[in-house]
């Protein structure tokens, strides 16, 4: 059927036709569309039967002629109707084409609106809402819904429907679709409500672990080709917007977490000592480097008149936030125990800590190791108790550097466990290093552990330095060994050194020589230069030079037994009142006891055995340490500046 308005378009053509018929003798001409009168000429209508009728079956148009008849006019009228029908048909097609063009343009504008709107939508729910509303409008559908499933979160569903379905039904359809994306027909599933059987489901591809889809309830099941292109555009746009929203969500979440972690780290750092006590004759230093933002390691150093110097270092099992929470609790507990039991001893403090914390630690199946020490700088006595903290390294001049065994149980395991106390009488130069296993258990790229031996060597090599410098050397060595990009575990250490009254270093130099007599002149020369520059007297330089010469000759003869491949590392240090010469070698261990060395009787005309006695005669301090295949010598001479 041709709509009457359309007829308006070719009224002039019909009028021209009608006038021709009137000239030919017809008294009236009428035009009908499916039998309905739509035009007539001349103005007044005659109520008679037409003499001649012609019609076009395709368009349903017919023309009635009055007052004219004859077979020849019938042919003419038929041809005219046929032409008119074709004309109207073309007009109709044109119109419909224009219509769909307008429609496509409308949709493009709508798609643009969708893009613009979803770009601004940062929340997933907003994106889903826009998708459902806009795709309904764009596709002229009954309605639409969208579902997003993110792992470990409740599914997010949004529907835009006149009569909403239960969310469970929509989720069911979505799940069936996720299971079989190729199957877009849910009619056969009885659990799906009948209206949803015809839904067209579309995947919104976001990222592997996130599932998302868009369901469209079409008015008819037929989808035209432009519509399917539009669908593709909608789903592409929807996927991109959804991805953006997910990124936004993650960014917000990670920013929030980061802020929280930074705050937690600040709290933890505040719990660690902010300043280290300065006590005459003791050099103490501690540092904690957590692997993640927060860690389970902790230490504390305090001093007051009642109990001189009290310190502890501990390590909660595990890492990250759980360990950090327990660490804070344990640290606070330990500090208050020290504060309120000032006359107590280390093992009593641990007993109390164990009783206080056992319940909490048992509840989460964790425990904490801790070393508690108390040092009296007047008597040089160290009292300590060690609840499973390892390693604890003790380096003393002229003795082998040893590991103090962690032979007692960690805290948080057994109720009413009684910890034991030990004591050590420390002397000048003694060093106690307590660290968490983040040091010795750091592994290199081959998976080999840093180990206790390397730690001992670094301590021995740096024994003349300050506690802070020893700590820095250890941290640097471990960090280098493990590769700097990733720290596996928290690293915390506490170093205590009995110093006496050491003065700051003026000059310092280090060198390596082979175990050959000729090479020994190099350190002698360097010693001269360093000492002269520091203003040390010629007399004192001569004494130091002879002592160093005797020591190095001894190392060549006895440690390396003449093997010229042996390497001797020599370090020379000049402070305001002391010249310190140190050596390190990998030769034989010295067997005799330094204390028993005496100058041979010259009348016996012995040709050897003078070296060590000469050194002792010249120097104010001579110490020997041996550790893990290495010999460490320290010769020191005091002086007063002129």
């Amino acid at each position: 059927m041709i709509v009457p308005t359309l007829m308006q378009l070719c009224r002039s053509e019909f009028e021209a036709l009608a006038k021709t018929w009137l000239l030919l003798g017809a008294i009236q001409v009428t035009l009908h569309d499916d039998g309905l009168l739509i035009a007539h000429y001349p103005g007044d209508l005659l109520a008679a039967e037409p003499d001649l009728s012609a019609s076009d079956p395709n368009s349903g148009l017919s023309m009635h002629l009055y007052g004219i008849k004859g077979a020849q006019w019938q042919i003419v009228a038929d041809a005219q109707m046929h032409l008119l029908g074709r004309l109207l048909g073309s007009e109709g097609e044109m119109d419909s084409l224009t219509g769909s063009l307008v429609e496509t343009q409308d949709r493009l504008v709508a798609l643009y609106d969708l893009t613009r709107a979803t770009r601004g939508a940062m929340e997933i729910r907003d994106v889903l809402c826009l998708l459902a509303v806009e795709s309904t409008r764009l596709l002229d559908a009954h309605g639409a819904f969208a579902v997003v499933k993110i792992p470990d979160q409740a599914p997010i569903i949004h529907q835009f429907l006149d009569s909403p379905y239960p969310n469970e039904s929509l989720l069911l359809v979505a799940d069936l679709f996720f299971l079989h994306p190729e199957d877009n027909n849910f009619k056969e599933c009885s659990a799906v409500p009948p209206g949803l059987g015809n839904v067209v489901m579309l995947i919104l591809s976001v990222r592997p672990q996130v599932q998302a889809c868009l369901g469209i309830l079409y008015k008819s099941r037929e989808i035209s080709s432009p519509d399917s292109k539009l669908l593709k555009a909608i789903t592409d746009q929807g996927s991109a917007s959804l991805d953006n929203a997910l990124f936004h969500l993650e960014a917000v979440e990670s920013a929030r977490l980061e802020t929280e972690m930074t705050l937690a780290r600040q709290v933890q750092t505040a719990l660690l000592p902010q300043s280290l006590p300065k006590i005459k004759g003791v050099d103490i230093y501690g540092i904690s480097i957590p692997a993640s933002q927060v860690g389970g390691d902790f230490f504390f150093i305090t001093s007051n008149s009642e109990h001189a110097l009290t310190f502890y270092l501990g390590d909660v099992t595990g890492k990250g936030m759980p360990a950090a929470l327990l660490m804070s609790m344990t640290n606070t507990s330990a500090r208050s125990a020290i504060r309120y039991m000032p006359f107590s001893e280390p093992h009593i403090l641990i007993d109390r800590l164990n009783n206080d914390l056992l319940e909490d630690y048992s509840a989460v199946d964790m425990f904490v190791t801790i070393f508690v020490g108390m040092f009296d700088p007047d008597t040089h006595q160290l009292l300590f108790a060690n609840a499973g903290q390892s390693p604890v390294i003790y380096a003393s001049p002229n003795q082998e550097t040893i590991l103090l065994e962690a032979d007692d149980l960690p805290v948080g395991i057994f109720e009413n466990h009684h910890y034991s106390m030990k004591s050590l009488n420390l002397s000048q130069g003694d060093i106690l290093v307590i660290t968490t296993d983040g040091f010795n258990e750091t592994s290199n790229e081959k998976g080999e552990l840093f180990g206790i031996d390397r730690m001992k060597n670094i301590i021995n090599r740096n024994s003349h330095r300050s506690a802070k410098e020893i700590a820095e050397s250890l941290c640097a060595a471990v960090s280098e060994y493990g590769g700097s990009d990733r720290q596996e575990d928290d690293r915390t250490l506490l170093i205590m050194k009995v110093t006496g009254d050491e003065k700051p270093v003026f000059h310092q130099t280090e060198m390596e020589v082979y175990a050959e007599y000729e090479q020994l002149r190099i350190p002698a020369q360097v010693l001269r230069e360093v000492c002269s520059a520091a203003g040390v007297s010629e007399d004192l330089i001569g004494k130091c030079e002879l002592a160093l010469q005797e020591l190095l000759t001894n190392l060549v003869n006895h440690a390396y037994e003449g093997n010229p491949q042996g390497v001797i590392r020599v370090s020379i240090q000049v402070t305001a009142d002391r010249v310190i010469m140190q050596t390190e070698d990998s030769g034989n261990r010295m067997e005799s006891d330094l204390d028993s060395v005496e100058m041979p009787d010259p009348l016996l005309l012995q040709e050897s055995g003078y070296g060590m006695a000469i050194i002792k005669g010249l120097m104010d301090e001579v110490t020997y340490r041996n550790g893990e295949g290495k010999n460490f010598w320290l010769l020191a001479k005091n002086y007063t500046k002129e």
């Binding site: 007599y517 000759t553 010259p602 005309l605 050897s608 003078y610 000469i614």
Partner: protein, 114 residues
């Protein structure tokens, strides 16, 4: 009565070894080798002129002691012209060899007033 003349010829060979610079573990073996050569020729009188010596260590001292020991066994002796430098004489005092070696002046190498 004709005088009876009995002539005995005494000849003492004294080796004077003047040392300059450092006599340390590196230089000692060369000196020892040279002294051993003299000792093997039954020479037993040595004077070590240490006046210009800059440094002496126990390895150098050991050579002097070794020569002294062998010289005494052959009824000889070793005398020292004392070092000017403390860096060279220090070890002699420290080991008390200053009380073992006879110290002489350069003019006393050949006894005067004989």
């Amino acid at each position: 009565m004709a005088v009876e003349i009995k002539t005995v010829e005494y000849s003492i060979k004294i080796i004077v070894i003047a040392l300059k610079g450092r006599l340390d573990a590196f230089e000692a073996p060369a000196l020892r080798k040279q002294c051993d050569a003299y000792l093997s020729q039954n020479i037993a009188h040595f004077v070590f002129d240490l006046s210009e010596l800059m440094m002496l260590d126990s390895a150098g001292l050991a050579v002097l002691v070794s020569v002294l020991k062998h010289a005494r066994q052959a009824d000889g002796d070793v005398r020292l012209i004392w070092p000017k430098e403390e860096t060279a004489s220090r070890i002699l005092k420290l080991t008390k060899f200053d009380q073992v070696f006879v110290s002489i002046e350069p003019s006393q190498i050949i006894p005067k007033g004989f």
